[in-house]
Structures are given as C-alpha cells and as structure tokens.
C-alpha cells in the first residue's frame, strides 16, 4: 500500500489541487471518495458514534473547501486533510465529553497477544521455543482468501480492543505511516507500534484458528 510521509511536498497532488481550485466537481468527488474512509477512522478515535464521525468528516470537507486557496502544500494533501479531521474530531469529542483514553496504553489489552502456553517453559529443553503441534505452519494469502477469510478478519477486527482496532485500521487498511497515525491520534510512535503489534497478533490468531478449523 502506498505510504505518504508527513511533511512531503505535494508534488503528486499538484494536478489534483489545481483541479479542485478551478472548481472541477469530478475531482472533488474523487478526493471525497478516496479520503473519507481514513477521515472516518480518525474521527472514530475521538467521537462516540458513527453518526458523529460522519458529521466531523462533513465539517472537515467544508473547512477544506474554504481553506484550499490558502493551502501551501508544505505537506501532502491527505496529511493536511487528516490533520484538520483530527482537530475537528478532537474538539467535538471534548464537547461530547467522551474520549478514548490515549493517555495510557496500560489496560486490559496489554496481555501478550499469543497464548503463552504455546511456548516451552523456561526450564524445558529449548526454552521459549514453539511447542510441537502449536508451531505456525505458514499459511499464506491464497490459503486465507480461498477460505473466505475476509469475513473472519472483519469480525476479528470488530472484536479488537478499541485502540488496537483504530491503529490497525489506520496503518494496515488506510495505509497511514506510523508518524501520521501518531500525529493524528496524539500518541507516540512507540505506542502506535505496541498497539499495532497486539492488534495484528490477535487478528493473526483469529485467522490461524479458522485456518486450522477448516483444514482439520
């Protein structure tokens, strides 16, 4: 997935920005379609409902339209739009008096993401290695695609602790970089990586359980 770095000048955006500034409605529709998913996901980091998130995104697009003439392209267009989204969402979240507790990463989702009983104990031979029968077998994307695993994955994603779900969504579905996720959600890149690791591990576990079930 294409990664856009924070702070990169908007050269790839130049044509798009020109079209938007000249009132090209088709270009506007394209950018709304392309950016709104990640904007909705960012908004959900700060507001309680899907409906609120949609209103945040709507408000953001109006702000973008108004601010477009003054946009200096010191970052990419998407980074700029995501930043505005986060600011509006943060403000709205405070008004709604509900925020995701980003200030601490310590919580119920801090347990190790793989069942530790799958590893050998410290006093066994080859301590810390995979136990026989629990060793990953290396199923690949073609295996999981054939087994209809997208639905399993979506269900597992919905079942993740909220902070893990948000970070995995923004990184691996929306393709934001760790720096962009960190900036949008107001957490350190270290915490982004911790949440990403835990979320990805849990998703991998769900897919693994399903793979073993269907191939048993």
């Amino acid at each position: 997935m294409e990664q856009i770095d924070v702070g990169e000048p908007g050269d790839p955006d130049a044509a798009l920005i020109e079209q938007l500034r000249s009132g090209d409605a088709a270009a506007f529709r394209r950018v709304v379609t392309e950016y709104s998913p990640v904007m909705l996901h960012v908004a959900r980091g700060f507001v309680a409902t899907r409906a609120s998130a949609e209103e945040v995104v709507q408000e953001t697009w109006v702000a973008v339209i108004r601010s477009l003439p003054g946009f200096e392209q010191r970052s990419s267009l998407r980074t700029w739009v995501v930043r505005i989204t986060a600011n509006i969402a943060r403000r709205r979240g405070r008004q709604e008096a509900r925020t995701v507790p980003w200030s601490t990463v310590v919580g119920p989702d801090t347990t190790g993401a793989v069942d530790v009983s799958r590893f050998r104990g410290p006093y066994e031979r080859y301590p810390g290695g995979w136990l026989p029968g629990a060793e990953p077998i290396g199923w690949g994307p073609e295996d999981v695609a054939l087994a209809g695993e997208v639905m399993v994955l979506k269900r597992a994603l919905a079942g993740l602790p909220e902070r893990q779900r948000l970070v995995v969504t923004l990184r691996d579905i929306d393709g934001l970089s760790s720096d962009e996720v960190s900036a949008a959600l107001g957490i350190t890149t270290g915490n982004v990586r911790i949440l990403l690791h835990r979320g990805r591990s849990r998703l991998r576990n769900s897919l693994d359980a399903d793979y073993r079930r269907v191939s048993a």
Binding site: R29, T33, S36, E54, G129, W130, E135, S178, D208
Partner: protein, 83 residues
C-alpha cells in the same frame, strides 16, 4: 533451538511486527534473521503475519452516505460559483 545470541521464539514474536515494518535497528534485525534461519515455526509466524497485513490491505470499511456526499458536492459547487 536457541543459541546464546539468537532470540527465543517467545521473544521473537514480540518483535515481529516491527521487523515486518522495517522498524527494528540493524543489530536486532540481524539477531532476528539469525533466528529465522534456524526456526521454521517463527518463519511460519512471520509468513502468517504478512498474510494478515496483506489481507487487511484489501478491506474497505467505511464510506460516507450518498446523501452526505451529495450535500458536500452542492457545497463545493456553491463555493465555486461564489468565488
């Protein structure tokens, strides 16, 4: 099988997400790769993690409602005609 400088499987899996993203320092990366060279289980885990991330990349989750998009297009058009 764990040598004195390699990373036991349990430790390894804590690092695998960073390794996948190229976010480990070169010394840690070398230790991980030494371990992978002798541990099919961890190679399997890395493969599965890559497949999970790849599958995530194919998912589209959310989109605005058509009504909202139409409203925004209207706002865009009136902004253009006023500008």
């Amino acid at each position: 099988m764990t040598g004195p400088r390699s990373v036991a499987c349990r430790e390894q899996f804590e690092l695998i997400s960073d390794y996948l993203d190229g976010a480990t320092d070169s010394e840690t990366m070398a230790r991980i790769e030494r371990h992978l060279a002798e541990c099919p289980g961890c190679v399997g885990y890395l493969t599965e993690m890559r497949a999970t991330v790849a599958l995530l990349g194919t998912i589209t989750l959310d989109q605005l409602t058509d009504d909202t998009v139409r409203g925004l297009e209207q706002a865009f058009r009136s902004w253009r005609s006023a500008g």
